[in-house]
């Protein structure tokens, strides 16, 4: 029942990589119309002149995936999910700053 396939090498999708529109929709499980809306809201900045040629920076993938999950799992629309993601990012940044400051305080004690 079990078979070992060959070793697969992973490709990290990171800085400098651009992801095609269709792959963005697939990976983040967001439909094309919602991706349009997110681009119009300024949550992501695609390159390319026409939407058919749009490519997105791979660095936007983590936040777009959160947007996709929130839309799907909580039944909120694109602009609501975009707002939630921006607030979550602010929250995470504040938590990081608090941790940094706590370390600073600990270092000075």
């Amino acid at each position: 029942m079990s078979q070992v396939t060959k070793i697969a090498a992973g490709q990290v999708l990171g800085e400098g990589d651009w992801i095609a529109f269709t792959e963005i929709c697939r990976v983040c499980r967001i439909d094309a119309r919602a991706v349009h809306e997110l681009a119009a809201l300024g949550l992501v900045s695609p390159r390319g002149s026409a939407p058919g040629e749009w490519e997105f920076p791979a660095t936007a993938l983590p936040r777009l995936r959160v947007v996709g999950r929130l839309m799907r799992d909580l039944g909120i629309n694109a602009s609501g999910a975009a707002l939630a993601v921006e607030l979550l990012e602010v929250q995470h940044e504040l938590e990081r700053r608090i941790r940094r400051l706590e370390r600073l305080v600990a270092a000075q004690d």
Binding site: T5, R26, V27, A58, P62, R65, R100
Partner: protein, 322 residues
């Protein structure tokens, strides 16, 4: 496998209507959604809730589930009845993939949509409720937890993927594939790794789906991570801070020598350029100094502190006096 009481998980009566089921799901999803929740075990709870909703929101699946009867209790040993699924029209299903963690120094991976064996035996895998794949194969998603050292050096991970496959006689069979994945160095939190063609195979010879792994970096004993930058708190003696010193500092790439400038203070940050996580450009390592006082427990130590008091004209609270 163990029976799951989906009504109990959503906290609704067996007689609840579609609207009540939806409301209960929405409330619990908002409470336990792993992207927003601070609840302990949020992820586990959320998956249970999602699985329950997957069944109860779908009239066909709910009716089939209800046919099992109301005598079952959560956790009870369960086997699907032999005539399972007969008499129903089969609608949309859901792909299923499980990735098991392996022992050793390998990264740990979890399937993102790993529903329970109970769910899979009834509605996933080879069950008649699963929809056939048309066109290309679907993508699979899994999450992978890696240690900071693994993110720095690269790592390998062994994934066990269960996939329904079409046999030559036209029936579906669940097969386990073991995939060994090499993961390059320089991963950062939340980044995706694409394994082309390692998703679901296409039923009709079309393009296989891809497998995407979402990387999460585990907390580290010494280092804090912020993107590609690393911060280490380095304890130093008062004379090292005051007079300057050359010290050996651990970094992910191995120990390096670092010069502490004379007159350094506790809390001050020094930068080791390019010693963070690899990338273009690589991150930096910040070294935050923490001056640690030697205890004054011996006569000798007390004498040294006494001498400092006598000879140094030092008032640390000079700023506080108006």
């Amino acid at each position: 496998m163990e029976y799951r009481d989906y009504y109990r998980i959503l906290g609704v009566q067996r007689t609840a209507n579609a609207e009540e089921v939806k409301t209960a799901y929405r409330r619990l999803a908002r409470k336990y959604h792993p992207d927003v929740s601070k609840e302990p075990n949020a992820e586990e709870r959320f998956k249970e809730v999602q699985e329950a909703y997957e069944v109860l929101k779908d009239p066909e699946k709910r009716a089939a589930y209800d046919q099992l009867g109301s005598e079952w209790k959560s956790g009870q040993q369960f086997r699907p009845p032999p005539d399972w699924g007969s008499g129903f029209e089969f609608g949309g299903g859901r792909t299923r993939q499980r990735a098991h963690a392996h022992a050793g120094d390998e990264a740990q991976a979890y399937a993102e949509e790993g529903f329970s064996d109970f769910f899979s035996s009834l509605f996933g895998g080879a069950s008649p409720f699963r929809s056939a794949t048309r066109g290309g194969g679907r993508d699979h998603h899994a999450r992978i937890d890696i240690a900071l050292e693994q993110a720095f050096h690269g790592t390998t991970s062994t994934l066990e993927l269960k996939r329904p496959e079409l046999k030559s006689d036209g029936t579906l069979e669940v097969r386990t594939h073991t995939v060994r994945v090499t993961i390059p160095s320089g991963l950062t939190e939340g980044q995706l790794i694409r394994l082309a063609g390692q998703g679901e195979p296409a039923a009709d010879g079309g393009r296989a789906g891809d497998l995407y792994l979402e990387a999460h970096i585990l907390p580290h004993r010494l280092y804090q991570v912020d993107g590609r930058d690393i911060t280490l708190t380095l304890p130093v003696a008062p004379w090292e801070a005051a007079l300057g010193a050359s010290v050996t500092v651990p970094t992910l790439g191995g120990p390096v020598d670092m010069q502490i400038p004379a007159g350094a203070q506790s809390g001050q940050k020094l930068r080791l350029r390019g010693r963070g996580l690899p990338g273009k450009p690589p991150g930096d390592q910040y070294v935050q100094l923490k001056v640690v006082l030697p205890p004054a427990t011996t006569a000798e130590a007390k004498a040294v502190y006494g001498e400092m008091r006598a000879k140094l004209d030092f008032n640390p609270r000079a700023d506080l006096t108006g």
